[in-house]
C-alpha cells in the first residue's frame, strides 16, 4: 500500500504476463488480450489523429445531445464489447474441447472468462444495443425532436461507457472477478477474494446501472409527455410500446441491482455484514436482490426485440399488425409478471416447496403472453406479401429457435425438473437459446431495417443473408448440444470434465463457436461491402421498405431536427394510411424556427470522473476517488449557474432542407415497388403495396 498508487503495483500489469508467469497458452491468452485492448485503443486514437478527426469527433459525436447520434454511439459501444465477448466465447469453447481431464487454461483464468463473458454480454452488449435502438427510434416514432432530457441522455451513455471501460481496464491491469456474472457472495466477499476482481465488477455494474436507470426515466417521460398531437397510447407504434414497458422496468428493476452492488461494496470495503458467513450476514438477501433485478432484466432486453420483430413482420409482409391490442396487452402483462418470477433462479437454495410452486406457476404464466406474441407474428405473416430479405432470415431463425428456447424455459419452470438440471449445461443452453435468437437476432434484423434510415444506404443483401445463415447454423451447433450434455450431467462453469462421452459434443460446440466468430466477422464484411457499394444502395428519400411508422416519413439520414413541423396524428400507422391514400410528403404550410438543446461535455465529464472513481476505488487510490467526486459535483454546481442558450435552426434553413428532399421525391416520379425493393432502383421512395392500410 502506498498513498499515491494504493494497492496497485507493476506486477498487476498483464501485458508481460508471459515473462513474469512463464510461457504457456494460458499466459499467452491473458497477455494477448491485454495487448489487443491497448493496441486497439492506440490504433483508434492514432487513426483519429492521422485523419485529423478529433475536432469533428468531439463536436459532432462526443458532445452531441442528438438522440440519433447517442443511439448510434450506444450500438457502436455494443459492437466493440461484443468483439471481446465473442472472442471470449471462442477461447472458452477451445478450452472445453480440451477439457477432458484438464484443458489449456488455468482454472482461475477459465472462471474469469465465464464471469467477464456473462457480465459483458448482458450489461455492455445487450443493454447498449437495446438502449441504442430505443434512443434512435423513440423520438422519431412518436414525432418528437429529441428526448425529454437530452443532457441526461448523454450522461447515461457516459455512465454505460464507464462500466464498459472498467471491464476493459481489468483486462490490462489486474483481474476481473471469478464468481460468474451474478457474483454471489460470500465467494466474492473480502474473506475469499480480497480483490481487485469483485471491486471492478461492483463499480462497473453500479455505475452503469445508474446510467440505465436514468435512461429508463428519460425514455418513459419522453413517451408519456413528448408524443406528437393526436398520438394517443393506442396509436403508438408497437416498438414504442415495448420501449415504454422496458423503460418502466429499467426505472424499477435497476434499484435492486444498485442496492445489492453497494451493500456488497460496504461488505468488501468497510467490513459490513450483509452477505458474510458469520455475524448475522445472510447471502440469500443478495440472491433475492440480484434476481429481483435479474429477472426483469431478461424482459428489459427482450421486449424491445419483440418490438423490432413486430415492426418487421408487418413491414415485410405488407400488412398491418394482426392483433395490435393483444400485443400491447401481452407486453404490459409481461412487464408486470416479470417482477413476480425472480425466485425461479434459485429453486434449490432452501425455499419451501410451497414458495417454489408459487414461483414455478408464475413462471409458466409469463410464458402465456409470450406465446400470444408468437401467434400475433404468425397471423401477421399469414396471407401477407412476404419478401425474404435479410431481416426475414433472422425472423425465421428466431421463430423456430426461440420457441425451442421458450419450451426449455417451461421445462425449467417446474421445480422438480429444475432440481435435476440446475447448474448444468442445460441452463447454459437455455439462456443462450432465448437471448441469442430472441434478442441478438432481433437486433441484427433491426440493424438491417434501420441502418438505411440512419446512414442513407441499405446493407448488402447477399452478405447479410450469408451472415444471418452463419448465425443461425452457428448457434445451433454451439448451443443445442449443451442441452444433451446438460441432461447427461455436465455441470456448468466447471473447468474440466472426466466423462469422455462429453468430448464429441464439445468438439461440435467448438466448430459452432468458430462459425459464430465467422458470423460476427460477417457483420463487418457486410458493412464493408455496403460502404463500397453505397452509391448503388443509397436510399436518400428515406423509405426503402414501404414503412408504416413516422420515422420513415423523414429523409435518410434524418435532419438533426427530425421533423420540419411536428406531425399531427389521426390514426395508427399514419404514414401507411397517407401512402395508401396517395397523399404522403405534403409540404408544410409554414415553417417556424426550431429550438434544439446545445452541445455539452456533460457526458464526457461524467465518463472521465466516474471511470477515475471506479478505478481508484478498485485499487484503493483514495485521493483520486475523492478528487473524482469533487470534480464531478463541483462541475455540476458550476454548470447549473451557467446559461445554456438553445441552438436555433432558422425557418429558412428548415424550408431549404425540406424542399431539397421533397423535390427529389417529386423528380423520382414513380416510387419503387416491392419487386424492386433490393435492386438499385430503390432510392427510398416507396410505391406502396398496401391497398388498405388500416
Amino acid at each position: 500500500m502506498n498513498a499515491l498508487f494504493g494497492r496497485l503495483s507493476w506486477s498487476e500489469l498483464k501485458l508481460f504476463e508471459t515473462f513474469t508467469h512463464g510461457w504457456s497458452i494460458d499466459t499467452l491468452v491473458a497477455a494477448g488480450a491485454a495487448w489487443a485492448v491497448v493496441l486497439g485503443a492506440v490504433a483508434v486514437a492514432g487513426w483519429l489523429t492521422w485523419a485529423g478527426l478529433w475536432g469533428r469527433f468531439w463536436r459532432d459525436w462526443l458532445t452531441s445531445v442528438d438522440h440519433k447520434k447517442i443511439g448510434i454511439m450506444y450500438i457502436v459501444l455494443g459492437f466493440v464489447m461484443m468483439a471481446r465477448g465473442v472472442a471470449e466465447g471462442l477461447v472458452m469453447r477451445s478450452h472445453q474441447a480440451t477439457a477432458l481431464g484438464g484443458g489449456v487454461l488455468s482454472e482461475e483464468h477459465w472462471a474469469e472468462l465465464f464471469s467477464t463473458h456473462g457480465t459483458i454480454m448482458i450489461f455492455f452488449v445487450a443493454m447498449p444495443f437495446i438502449t441504442g435502438f430505443m434512443n434512435y427510434l423513440i423520438p422519431l416514432q412518436i414525432g418528437a425532436r429529441d428526448m425529454a432530457f437530452p443532457m441526461l441522455n448523454q450522461i447515461s451513455l457516459g455512465l454505460t461507457a464507464t462500466g464498459a471501460a472498467l471491464t476493459m481496464i481489468s483486462l490490462v491491469v489486474g483481474v476481473f472477478e471469478t464468481g460468474g456474472w451474478t457474483a454471489y457472495p460470500p465467494f466474492t466477499g473480502a474473506a475469499f477474494d480480497p480483490g481487485p476482481g469483485p471491486d471492478y465488477w461492483v463499480w462497473a455494474i453500479v455505475l452503469s446501472g445508474f446510467g440505465s436507470m436514468f435512461s429508463g426515466i428519460n425514455f418513459a417521460v419522453t413517451i408519456y409527455k413528448m408524443r406528437a398531437p393526436g398520438m394517443t397510447y393506442m396509436r403508438m407504434p408497437v416498438f414504442t410500446w415495448t420501449a415504454l414497458c422496458t423503460s418502466i422496468l429499467l426505472t424499477f428493476a435497476l434499484p435492486p441491482l444498485t442496492v445489492a452492488g453497494l451493500m456488497q461494496a460496504l461488505d468488501r470495503y468497510l467490513e459490513f455484514n450483509f452477505f458474510t458467513n458469520d455475524q448475522g450476514g445472510n447471502m440469500m438477501n443478495y440472491a433475492n436482490l440480484f434476481w429481483m433485478f435479474g429477472h426483469p432484466e431478461v424482459y428489459i432486453l427482450v421486449l424491445p426485440a419483440y418490438g423490432i420483430f413486430s415492426e418487421l413482420t408487418s413491414t415485410f409482409a405488407a400488412k398491418k399488425l394482426y392483433g395490435y391490442e393483444s400485443l400491447v396487452l401481452a407486453t404490459m402483462s409481461i412487464a408486470v409478471i416479470s417482477f413476480a418470477v425472480w425466485l425461479h433462479h434459485f429453486f434449490t437454495m432452501g425455499n419451501s416447496a410451497t414458495v417454489n410452486v408459487a414461483f414455478g406457476i408464475a413462471t409458466m404464466v409469463i410464458a402465456v403472453p409470450t406465446g400470444v406474441k408468437v401467434y400475433v407474428w404468425m397471423a401477421t405473416l399469414w396471407g401477407g406479401r412476404i419478401r425474404f430479405t435479410t431481416p426475414m432470415y433472422y425472423m425465421t431463425g428466431f421463430f423456430i429457435l426461440f420457441v425451442v428456447g421458450g419450451l426449455s424455459g417451461i421445462i425449467l419452470a417446474n421445480p422438480a425438473i429444475n432440481w435435476q438440471v440446475h447448474n448444468t449445461q442445460f441452463i447454459v443452453a437455455h439462456f443462450h437459446n432465448v437471448l441469442l435468437p430472441g434478442l441478438i437476432f432481433g437486433i441484427f434484423a433491426g440493424i438491417h431495417i434501420w441502418f438505411p434510415k440512419a446512414f442513407g444506404f441499405r446493407l448488402d443483401e447477399r452478405a447479410g443473408k450469408i451472415t444471418a445463415l452463419l448465425w443461425i447454423v452457428g448457434f445451433c451447433l454451439t448451443f443445442l448440444p449443451l442441452y444433451v450434455v446438460g441432461l447427461m450431467g455436465y455441470p456448468r462453469r466447471s473447468s474440466a470434465f472426466d466423462d469422455p462421452a462429453f468430448l464429441p459434443y464439445m468438439i461440435v460446440c467448438l466448430i459452432g463457436a468458430c462459425m459464430l466468430a465467422a458470423a460476427f466477422t460477417g457483420l463487418f464484411v457486410t458493412l464493408w461491402i455496403s460502404i463500397r457499394k453505397r452509391d448503388e444502395l443509397a436510399v436518400p428519400m428515406g423509405d426503402p421498405w414501404d414503412g408504416r411508422t413516422l420515422e420513415w416519413a423523414t429523409p435518410a439520414p434524418p435532419p438533426h431536427w427530425n421533423f420540419a413541423v411536428i406531425p399531427h396524428i389521426s390514426e395508427r400507422d399514419a404514414f401507411a394510411r397517407e401512402k395508401a391514400e396517395g397523399r404522403p410528403y405534403v409540404l408544410p404550410e409554414r415553417y417556424v424556427d426550431i429550438h434544439l438543446p446545445p452541445n455539452t461535455p456533460a457526458g464526457m465529464i461524467v465518463f472521465v470522473t466516474t471511470t477515475a472513481f471506479g478505478f481508484a476505488a478498485t485499487w484503493w487510490i483514495w485521493w483520486l476517488a475523492i478528487l473524482a467526486i469533487l470534480v464531478l459535483v463541483g462541475w455540476m454546481i458550476v454548470h447549473s449557474f451557467l446559461d445554456h442558450p438553445e441552438v436555433v435552426i432558422p425557418a429558412v434553413e428548415v424550408r431549404r432542407a425540406t424542399n431539397v428532399w421533397i423535390e427529389a421525391i417529386e423528380l423520382a416520379g414513380e416510387g419503387v415497388t416491392r419487386d424492386d425493393e433490393v435492386s438499385p432502383k430503390n432510392r427510398g421512395y416507396a410505391s406502396t403495396d398496401m391497398l388498405v392500410a388500416s
Binding site: 426515466i217 418513459a220 434499484p255 444498485t258 455475524q279 429481483m292
Partner: protein, 205 residues
Amino acid sequence: MSEQNVHPGMNLGYDGGEEEAEVKIFGFWAFVMSDLVTFGLVFAIFGTMAGSTAGGPGPEEVTDLTSVAIQTVLLLGSSFGFSWASLSMKYHPKSRWRTLGWLAVAATSALGFLVLEVVDFHHWTTIGAVPQRSGYLSALWALVGLHGLHVAGGLIWMAAMTGQILVFGLTDDIKSRVTRMGLYWHFLDVVWVGIFSMVFLAGVA
C-alpha cells in the same frame, strides 16, 4: 398541451414555459419513485436482518427515543419551512428574500437534524454498535445512513439553489428547480417517518 393537463398543484405562476416545467417535474416524480424503490429494498433488508444481532447490541441499546423525537421534529419542521418557501415563491415572486428566508429556516432545521444524527452515530460507536459488529447493525447503519446522505446531498443542493436565487432571481427555471427540490425534500420526510416508526419505535416496542 391544454391548461388542465398541466401538473395539478404545480401552478406556480410561470410566465409561460409550463410545458417544459411539466415534463421536468414529471421526470423528477419518476426519479423519486425509483429512489423510493431503493429505500423500500433497504427497508426490506433491514426487516430480514432485524434479529441478526449476533450477540451484539440490539434495538434497545441503540434507540434513544428523546434524540430521535427531536430529530423528527427538526426534519418535519424543515419540510414545513420548505412549504412556506414554496408558497412565498408562488405568492411573492417579487421578493426573493422571503423565499430565501424560509429556505434558510428549512436548511437550519435540517442541519440540526443531521448534527443530532451524527451525535447518535458517534454514541453507537462508543457502545460498540458499529456496523462491522452484526448484520442487524450493518442494515441499521445503511438504512439510517442512506437517508442521512440524502439529507446531506439535499443541503448541498439547497446551498446551490440559494446561490442561484441570488444570482438569477425567481425566474421560471429557478421556480421549476425549487419545485423539484421541494418534492425531494418532502419525500425524505416520508422516508424518515418510515425509519422512525419501523426502525426505532418498532425496535423498542
